[in-house]
Amino acid sequence: MNKRFDFSALMQSKVTWAVIAEVLILLVCFAIRPDFFSISYQPSTGMLYGSLIDIVNRSAEITIISMGMTLVIALGGTDLSVGALVAVSGAIALKFLRWDVLTYTTPGDYTVYPYFLVLIVPLVVCALMGLFNGFLVAKGGIQPIIATLILMVCGRGVAQILTDGKQFTTGYSPFRVIGQGSFLYLPMPIIITIIVVVAVALFTRKTAFGAFVESVGVNASASRLSGIKAGTVILIVFMITGLLSGISGLIYSSRIMSNDSNNAGLNFEMDAILAVVIGGTNMAGGKFSLAGTVVGSLIIRTIVTFVYYFGIVSEATMAFKALIIAVVIVLQSEPVREYFARRARRREALAGGDAR
């Protein structure tokens, strides 16, 4: 079959532009400091060591959450509670590790409750909280942005109550593995991210679930009429997002070996939405791109790493991030993509004319 490489479609795809943006930022880094790209082996930790590794490693929390956020946005909604759930997850984990800091006064290599509870309970609670969001949306008919606002606001409060407003610290080594351990020379958060991304991709693309989500996102009533249980799809999507926020929270708290109810996951909902949007999924719902979201999340982290690495002055950091994101979004805008797609079509047409 004579399948031609469709250049104009490629230039029109938002994912392409996200990749181009990421490559451009990395090229700027490379131009300023070629050693930005250096990766070496660090024998003391048994991990690869370099800024590129840091970018992927530190983007883990947002990438994992934004897998769920992609599905929520494909449904035409948003989940504002993810950041608060990160704090809840960390608080529960640390609560089970330390329980009562007045009885167990010094942080050490111990856990008060069995380790599986430390891991399972936060995930179950976060999944249930996600289910609660889904219930309000699917059964209550409440707009997702309002429904998830409830947990966004009270989630951190719950996290603070759990740990009496304190920051618990732990030294339990199996818990350290999640955020600071390694597997196959890579930091553990990268491995967890890969597993999550692959799992979500398989679940949505190898089953009909992804198509259901897109269908409900485009038109919920029409999908219901064609036999899709829209409510169940919404419930599952919000539950997945809750669960993924829980995983993200475990990584975050394991990195710092403590809970930080005020700062853990702060503004993660915004970063996750941004990652999804940069990745080319339309906020109005419908088609979604998990690969695009991964690239979006990497772009966000690359900018942060850029700021730290090149020592952009603290006062200018926010403005600098905003500037780059503005450029990325403009690059992806309809007129810009249309312009390049038109040019590509013209070139293809010319090439076609030559062949005749």
Binding site: R33, S51, I256, T305, S314, E315
Partner: protein, 329 residues
Amino acid sequence: MKKVFFLVTALVMLVCVSAASAEVVIAFSQIGQESDWRTANTDDLKNAIENHPGWKLVYDDGQQKQENQIKALRNFITQDVNYILFTGVVSTGWDEVLKEVNEAEIPLLLVDRLPDCADKIEYAAAFGGDFVEEGRRQIVWAGEYLKSIGKGDMDVNIVIMEGTTGASAQTGRTEGNLKALKSYPHLKLVGQQSGNFTRAEGQAVMESWLKSIPKIDVLIAQNDDMALGAIDAIKAAGKVPGRDIIIVGCDSVKAAFDAIVAGEMNCTVECTPLYAEFVVPTIEALERGEKFDKTVIHPKENVFDMNGGIYLGTVTSIKAADVISQRRY
């Protein structure tokens, strides 16, 4: 019907008036629970006020958001409380709401952080750490410590990890840091970045610095949480915290003492959160009708390190291991 309504209203008013005269209502708008330090500060003030006979506390947690705190302050005005204790999450943008507090003639007590508009508003008293002095002590400790180990003449690369940009603790400590650096020409400033006062960001900033800056000898972290985060990043880079890189923190939280005793951190400059011991007497004095001028009341603070005995001009450092058991937070 009208009569009943009038009676009920009068009764309600009577109850309100009698309740108001019975106790002194002290409202406290706190930033949130950003760190162990903040928790200790909140607990100390809350306990002292709640347990004081005749005093009632109205507490509001701002959850790190200025708009929440502004809302809380306006609520306090509506409730017509007797005193307002206030710690602002950032230093700017309080002019309007604090003027409203002035207009309501509620005595304002500024705790820990002075807003930028402090000279334009009225306040009954202000309490706070001397952030500039803390910043100065951090650098002077590093300089004097290097002298004590015979490295006083060597060129040393130093990085400063700042707090949340715009917070008065960040601006004050940075000012103190930079001023003091001038007296130590051998300390070369090679990096300056905000770690937002959190462990996670302290870790990420240090991680990047270790790759972008070829040699770092001293880390000045403007709070202990960022220093503790940085320790993990230093370990991940295969370096030994406290030995390969000298780490000076600030605040003196319990976890920093643990790190110093374990040899992973070198020094922490105290910024005490225990304000109740001078806030409570001040409110008592205000109740008696005494007046205070606008000068900030500073607590007495120390510097804790691994071995003690380093003279910093105003204080001498104390060995952390000797006092760790007495630390309350």
